[in-house]
Amino acid sequence: MFKKYSFKGGIHPPHNKKQTESLTIEEFAAPDKVIIPLSQHIGAPAKAVVKRGDRVCIGQTIGDAGGFVSAPVHSSVSGTVKSVGMFPHPTGKQTMAVEIENDGTDEFAPLESFEKPWKEAAPGELIQKINNCGIVGMGGATFPTHVKLSPPSNKPIDTLIINGAECEPYLTADHRLMLERTEGLLTGALITRKILGAKRCTIAIEDNKADAIAAISQKLSDPKFKDLSVGVLKSKYPQGGEKQLINAVTSREVPSGGLPMDIGCVVENVSTALAIYDAIIDGKPLYQRVVTITGPLTRTPKNLLVRIGTPVMNILQACDVDFSMLKKVVTGGPMMGIALSTLDVPVIKSTSGLLTLDEKTPGIREYPCINCGKCVKICPMKLIPSRICKYAEKGKLDDAAEWNLMDCMECGSCTYTCPSKINLVHYIRLGKYQIQAKRAAQNTEQKK
């Protein structure tokens, strides 16, 4: 029926999606207390505009964007600000966050829906609204969406790809959204397409989500969606990686060190498209998101619509996690997600899943590299991970850079596949940090 798109390389980890893919999204009751970090995106943290004792309503701005590459933050409950201070963040750091006590009244701040039909609005107005609603890339990268949607005029965009690949094992949040909120996210895609002036808009979905493909294809027969198309992807990891997706759908390659807009492409996650719909049509800021709670120790896995700021602990309890066996909790998917050091951290705009694992993954090498070449074969960026890893490990940063260390997208495929169980991407990351630190040091040196 469809031609299947794919890229070269990649791996086939077990999907593990059966547990949750047929579970309807449930709304998770607002907790008694939310902790909303002011930094939930790439770029400058938001600046708090509330203080201790203030009363806030759902959707009220509590942090203003701290610059162009930044996004505002909104309250997800109504209640009283208990404190503004340092709290643990899912990334492992301590960051500024607003702690709000829920008064249970669920009072909304006045939601300002868009004053005119979106089709008549200028791109700039739409972008402004998206910016005000604090929308960021919800696939994990958390790049502020209004920035992505404002490419410089010398970089025209002809292709918009709506990313419904959801290639990470276990996660089904996007899958459920495609089934349950099909119309909304397609409208969101149309709005984005209009903003960018893109000719082509493809909704790209992996072929392991046949029902989602069917649901969207059916909706697309409606004439109002005639400008959209479905692209079926082969199920493999990292099919949803921005660069791999662009390559699969358009056969173009994002230049090394460049951005998708350099080749006329923009990729947007399906949840983000839906958030845009909610913002433009209902005036709803981004204060909740769908999270898949699953993993071997989750006795009742779920897809939950969660308020941003809900502590992870509350959610895990609701899903009946076996805490006695619990070794690890990961936010996001198992391939690129982050292991949590404490369960007091909140759900943020990029939390696509919570994964409970009963075993530790080896952090050290178990065998020497046997030069098997598996990592080379599967690296989606066509690097030689084993060599880069060796250089990075020995601190030969120049050699590592010469062998394209900086092009690694940290997808983890090499580590997954290595029979010697070497954590290649760990050393590669380490090398990247060192090179970045070195470059930063050189820059300050030059300025002096």
């Binding site: 008694d32 660069k243 460049g258 050091s341």
Partner: protein, 356 residues
Amino acid sequence: MTTVPKTTTSNQNQQSISPQVDEKMLLHLSTSPHIRQPMAVPEIMKWVILALMPAFVSSVIFFGWRSIMLTVVSVGSAVGTEWFINKYFKRPCTIKDYSAVLTGLLLALNFPATLPWWTAVIGSVFAIALAKLAFGGLGSNFINPALAGRAFLVASYPAAMTNFNAPFFGSISGIDGVSGATPLSNIKDAFLAGNFDPQLFSSALRSLSIGNVGGCIGETSAIALLLGGLILVWKRIIDIRIPLSYIGTVFILFWLSNGSGSFFNSASLITPTYHVLAGGLLLGAIFMATDMVTSPITPKGRIIFGIGCGVLTFTIRKFGGYPEGVTYSILLMNLIVPLIDRYTRPKIYGEVMKRD
């Protein structure tokens, strides 16, 4: 299950559960990815050993108990050497990765059935101690230990290493006159004498593919070796590029230089087929040239490596003073693997359009 009440947590509920759980719960931290595929180094080695079993079994069928004895001695001394050296230098014991077992087995399959047991021990000790552990052990050796062991024995005990007896089970296809010489030296002699007899060669081909011919114990049965190769390709343990380009090169070169005066009659295919099936080519191409540690890491490099091995084998067999050639071809190519890897670096994603 009282999950729902917990969902809408009341304050005290949360406070009573939280600390209690936190106390005993130490979360494990590590960077992503958090899952790994199950195949590890020992499994790979075990699969290769398994893939060698058809060849081993056929060697027992054709060469009898000596084949078992040589294999046991060779594997035993390889593992023993690895264990002892690790112990002596107080290094972690590495025999559990099965690579020493594999080296011993591969080496044994390269012995003639008549080899004295102590020569097998010398070969194994050399392979493990000098070709492998002296360079830092598994992963750091740049030549294949089993091949190095064999080359060492051929150089030190040429007579013992080339005393090929015809299989004890007699002949199935009716060619009996191979005792003392391998089919390869026969064909070479025939060439040198200028008498090319397609009849004799084609009946020899049949026995070569079954395995009842003289030669090293593990290299004689083409069917058993190919079966092993299929297992390895199916389990994605070896890259089919290496054996294919190696064997293909040997075949094409012998076909181009076949002595029948034509390229398109069936006689022209006999010599190349003969060279593919005879001698250690299949064993070498499927199990030795594909040794991960000592072959290139890039897909393109592996093809170059295979072709290089093929050209060298052809050259040695055709023009050299030695009827075999697989061992030295692979060893020579092992030495230039770093070079091949450097010059076959793949074009990375996005490099095409690099703007500088």
